[in-house]
């Protein structure tokens, strides 16, 4: 089983989480830790870049559900980007595109955050 890696970096007024590998019930806690750290630092504008994410299970999807409420309460958002078709299909099947903004690439999501700040 390929391993899972989560890495995050900060931009100007937003943070990017990069996911790599296999996100399931066993690796989901790693992503939870990252979200906890960001929320602890009051960073609520979060872009999740799924470029290297090869698989996501229902437990992986659950992580986003766990934090979206808190993030939005603090006028922030979780925006998802760069999904492979296969990963997108999992999100789509469950109706995530209705609940989350999903973009083709990171820059688009970042722009969105910048625009909403101007407004």
């Amino acid at each position: 089983m390929s391993e899972f890696k989560v890495h995050h970096r900060d931009g100007d007024g937003f943070s990017v989480i990069e996911l790599k590998g296999y996100l399931d019930a066993h690796t989901a806690p790693d992503l939870e830790t990252t979200f906890q750290e960001l929320l602890g630092d009051k960073k609520f504008n979060i872009v999740v870049n799924c470029k290297d994410l090869t698989y996501i299970s229902s437990a992986g999807l659950g992580v986003f559900m766990a934090y979206i409420e808190d993030v939005r309460k603090n006028k922030g958002d979780i925006k998802l980007t760069n999904m492979s078709p296969k990963v997108y299909n999992v999100f789509d099947l469950l109706g995530f595109p209705i609940l989350y903004e999903i973009y083709k690439d990171e820059a688009e999501a970042v722009n969105r955050f910048k625009q909403s700040r101007k407004v």
Binding site: S2, S58, A59, G62, M65, L93, L94, G95, I98, L99
Partner: protein, 694 residues
């Protein structure tokens, strides 16, 4: 039987000695040359002595009698005898004829006392021989027993050679054997190994006893060799007894003289020996504890207590190291404390520059501070009133990793010597094993509990699935749910509705184990009750979502596909809450039916109801509907590729003409073949509905 034997041996010796005494009374008064009677008399003496020996040896059969106690008994017997001999010597009215080779008693009183002292000396000799035997054979080596037997043989030989009937002819041999006996005495006197095992206290006693016994034997030897009352009496009584007693006295003098000197030299090391003993027994105790104490807390308390014991430390504590929340940072738990406060420990480890813990961990070696007050690693404690002389910190190393540190302090500077360090290091290794053991046991208990939980969850899941499926001439139903090793949340169910309709539901609850089984039970309850109330699948999903949303964890959700098969109308209506689409195969080919919809528990209100579509399909004879969970499409082959929707759709198209059961078996077999193994990684569920027409 035993008492009878003792009584017999003492009786025999008394009778024989009375006979000897009577013969002697006669012998002392008249010139007597009855050779035959003297033979008999000599035999009677030997017989009496053997009986006495039998009596004494049966009395002292307690094995393993402490060496010091043995010497003490000997002291009483020998000194008592010697004092008695001395007292009798100065009694008035006793005397012997002068000028003959064998002095003859002047009167019966002399004969009586002469016999008395002779018997006394014999008894003392026998006791001496037995005591020396016990000491020499203590912790015997290969040659020890042999040497002792040689000595006793020569001793007896020498005594027998002294019997007057052949004493003159064999005098050369007698002298040689006497010298040989002395040589053997010296040889066996080097066997003093019993001293090593004495405690300090016992050693002091044995020095005093040995000294007194030594002096007494010298006196006795002098009394036996010079022409004293004792000498004359014993020779008149029996020459062999005289030899026997003299050799035993010399043996006693040499052996206990030697014992006195050896013990004296052993005295300074007595404490070391005692400590080694206690160290050994502590280590032994710990090894035993390893198999007995499973409870971590008990174990660490025992460890700190024993650390103090093995090296005589003033205080001891044990801390365990674990990975901190931030990677690379270590955290320390002081788990066992003995005779020191936590505040003090915190102070000891407060040195930023020379942190004791860091020093131990980085060097992976024992850390010793001889002078706590002046050492740069520890002098920071002095202002805080922590006063101890020296400190020892030993790492607990398991698989090349330091899992903890064992600390000990002593009141004085330079308190820990090399021996202490060695023993605490050895001890630390045992402690490591003990701790690892207790951890492993805790882990296996945890695993066992987890397994139990899994079994409960599996059993629950099994019971929640329908045992009987609806049957009809209009359709065939086949359904299967294969649980994996970890209990997932796959669910399917049927409900018979009024007007010839049946409800079919397939779902997947996020999460595993008991929580998944619990959610499944909740979903089943909701489904069974709502299906009777709701006219359409869409309505059911909206209401189910509304009920569930407040009962689910934030990160939990449920995907569901609900279809109503209407036999009278030949239709199937379905709505989807984030679940895998239905696969529909008809004359027009095969495809996925995917009305839009959100998973249950994600969001409530208009967003959910607006997102949820409903579709209706008119069925024709031979149409096939497949419901399934992602366990099917996400089955992986050895290369890690998923079985996928496309393969499933194509397969369904190919096998459409078969019966529902055949289709089900065929699909499962295809997936097994694809995965290349018999067991599935994830739960998978498949419901096949084949429309036979009305």
């Amino acid at each position: 039987m035993y008492r009878l034997r003792r009584l017999f041996s003492i009786g025999v010796s008394v009778v024989l000695l009375i006979v000897v005494f009577m013969v002697d009374v006669v012998r002392s008064t008249v010139e007597f040359d009855g050779g035959g009677i003297l033979y008999f008399r000599e035999l009677a003496v030997i017989g009496a002595l053997l009986s006495i020996y039998a009596f004494i040896s049966s009395a002292g059969t307690e094995k393993g009698k402490a060496a010091t106690k043995g010497i003490g008994s000997l002291l009483v017997v020998v000194t008592g005898t010697t004092v008695l001999v001395g007292l009798i010597q100065i009694l008035p009215g006793l005397g012997f004829t002068e000028g003959e080779a064998v002095a003859v008693p002047l009167n019966s009183l002399t004969v009586f006392f002469g016999t008395f002292v002779s018997i006394g000396v014999s008894i003392a000799s026998i006791v001496t021989l037995m005591t020396v035997r016990d000491l020499v054979l203590h912790k015997r080596k290969k040659g020890t027993r042999r040497n002792f037997i040689i000595y006793v043989s020569i001793l007896i030989g020498c005594s027998i050679l002294a019997i007057p009937f052949w004493a003159d002819e064999l005098s050369a041999l007698a002298t040689t054997s006497f010298v040989a006996a002395i040589v053997m005495v010296v040889v066996i006197s080097f066997r003093q190994s019993w001293i090593v095992f004495l405690s300090r206290r016992e050693k002091i006693y044995s020095i005093i006893y040995s000294a007194i016994v030594f002096v007494t034997f010298i006196v006795l030897s002098l009394l036996l060799t010079n022409r004293t009352f004792l000498n004359k009496s014993v020779i008149f009584f029996s020459s062999p007894v005289e030899r026997f007693a003299l050799l035993n006295s010399i043996c006693g003098a040499v052996y206990f003289g030697m014992a006195f000197v050896s013990t004296l030299f052993h005295l300074p090391t007595a404490e070391v020996y005692e400590r080694k003993q206690s160290e050994l027994s502590s280590l032994h105790n710990l090894s035993r504890l390893v198999t007995q104490v499973f409870d971590f807390k008990d174990l660490v308390n025992t460890v700190t207590h024993m650390t103090r014991e093995v090296c005589g430390a003033e205080s001891a504590w044990l801390e365990m190291i674990r990975e901190g929340k931030v990677k690379g940072m270590r955290e320390y738990d002081v788990v066992g404390i003995n005779n020191i406060s936590e505040e003090q420990i915190a102070m000891i480890t407060a040195n930023e520059e020379f942190n004791l813990r860091k020093l131990v961990i980085e060097s992976k070696r024992v850390l010793l501070v001889d002078e706590v007050a002046t050492d740069r690693r520890t002098r920071h404690m002095k202002p805080h009133g922590i006063r101890f002389g020296s400190l020892l910190s030993v790492p607990l190393v398991s698989h090349d990793q330091i899992i903890g540190i064992l600390h000990a302090t002593k009141e004085f500077e330079y308190g820990f010597d090399q021996d202490d360090i060695d023993v605490v290091t050895t001890f630390a290794d045992h402690v490591t094993i003990a701790i690892e053991n207790s951890r492993l046991i805790a882990q296996s208990l945890e695993r066992e509990r987890y397994k139990q939980e899994m079994m409960v969850a599996q059993e629950m899941q099994r019971r929640l699935l329908p045992q009987k499926f609806p049957t009809s001439r209009s359709y065939e139903i086949a359904a299967v749910s294969e649980p994996s090793m970890e209990v997932g949340g796959d669910y399917f169910d049927f409900v018979e509705l009024p007007n010839d309709r049946i409800g079919v539901v397939v779902g997947d609850v996020s999460g595993k184990g008991v929580s998944a089984a619990f959610y499944m039970a909740e979903v089943k309850g909701i489904f069974q009750s709502l299906s009777k109330l709701c006219e359409s699948p869409r309505e059911l999903l909206i209401r189910a979502n509304h009920t569930l949303i407040d009962n689910l964890e934030k990160k939990a959700f449920i995907s569901l596909l609900y279809a109503i098969l209407d036999v009278r109308k030949s239709t199937i209506e379905l709505a989807r809450a984030g679940h895998c689409p239905m696969i529909y195969v008809s004359d027009n080919g095969q495809d996925m039916v995917r009305p839009s919809g959100l998973g249950l528990g994600l969001t409530d209100g208009e967003i959910f109801s607006n997102a949820t579509e409903e579709k209706t399909i008119r069925l024709r004879k031979g149409d096939l509907c497949l419901f399934y969970t992602d366990g099917i499409t996400e089955s992986r082959n050895e290369a890690g590729e998923e079985f996928g929707y496309e393969r499933l759709v194509q397969l369904a198209g190919q096998i459409r003409s078969q019966s529902a059961h055949e289709i089900q078996d065929r699909i499962l077999n295809e997936i097994r073949a694809y995965c290349g193994k018999a067991a599935f990684d994830d739960d998978l569920t498949l419901v096949v509905i084949k429309w036979l027409g009305t």
